[in-house]
């Protein structure tokens, strides 16, 4: 990941270790991370796998804006987010968010704010394949998800 970028899309499995290493800061006492994993069920249906598609140009711009805004708002030492695109199986890592700050309250709040805003505003869509053989795009109503 380009050292200046704090959000990116990845068509390949996300490697956590190098991201985690980029959060390190001598004045940081707290690091919170969030990982979204592909679950084996959704709305009561058995899920076999899924595909994420993104509007890449806008997704990367929005993601960068969201992470930069959280750094400023919560006074973070560092924050990063990577979101998968392409085919994923149950258990795969879909999104990773990591933040480092002086104290833990800001770390938790910022990490939560980033994933909430990513889910709300970044143009990425999930296409789920179900155990019954059918599949479909998820276009949740506001407040869902």
């Amino acid at each position: 990941m380009d050292a200046a970028r704090r959000f990116r899309l990845s068509a390949e499995p996300i490697e956590i270790a190098p991201l985690h290493a980029r959060l390190r800061h001598p004045a940081a006492g707290a690091c919170a991370t969030f990982e979204g994993w592909v679950r084996d069920h959704h709305d009561g249906r058995a899920v076999r796998g899924l595909r994420y598609e993104a509007y890449a140009a806008l997704a990367e711009a929005e993601g960068e804006r969201i992470v930069a805004a959280a750094i400023a708002r919560f006074g973070l030492k560092a924050a990063l987010c990577v979101h998968r695109t392409g085919e994923l199986a149950v258990g795969d890592l879909a999104v990773w968010v990591g933040v480092a700050s002086a104290h833990r309250a800001a770390a938790f709040e910022a990490c939560r704010a980033i994933i909430d805003e990513i889910k709300r505003d970044v143009p990425i869509w999930k296409h789920e394949r179900y155990a019954e053989g059918d599949a479909g795009w998820l276009h949740p109503d506001e407040g869902e998800g």
């Binding site: 509007y55 879909a94 709300r120 143009p123 869509w125």
Partner: protein, 80 residues
């Protein structure tokens, strides 16, 4: 008459059968452009559930379509 590119994603792309197309439009605003394309492709999603972007940035439905621009209709997102 404006000639521009429209991008489709997710269920809109499946319904349109293409990921992008060149469109000539006389619509006064982007809302009118979506209305025309929804009629042509039979999109299930009403405009109220979409956002619209122009040239990679969120835009407003009341904006006039600009010739040569790239317009994307953004269905409700489901990343994360």
């Amino acid at each position: 008459m404006s000639r521009l590119t429209v991008l489709y994603f997710a269920s809109l792309r499946d319904a349109a059968g293409v990921a992008e197309e060149i469109v000539e439009t006389e619509a006064a605003d982007l809302a009118g452009l979506y209305q025309a394309l929804r009629a042509r492709h039979g999109f299930a999603l009403p405009r109220e559930r979409l956002r619209v972007a122009v040239d990679g940035a969120f835009a407003c439905w009341g904006d006039a379509p600009r010739a040569g621009s790239e317009v994307a209709f953004i269905p409700p997102v489901s990343g994360g």
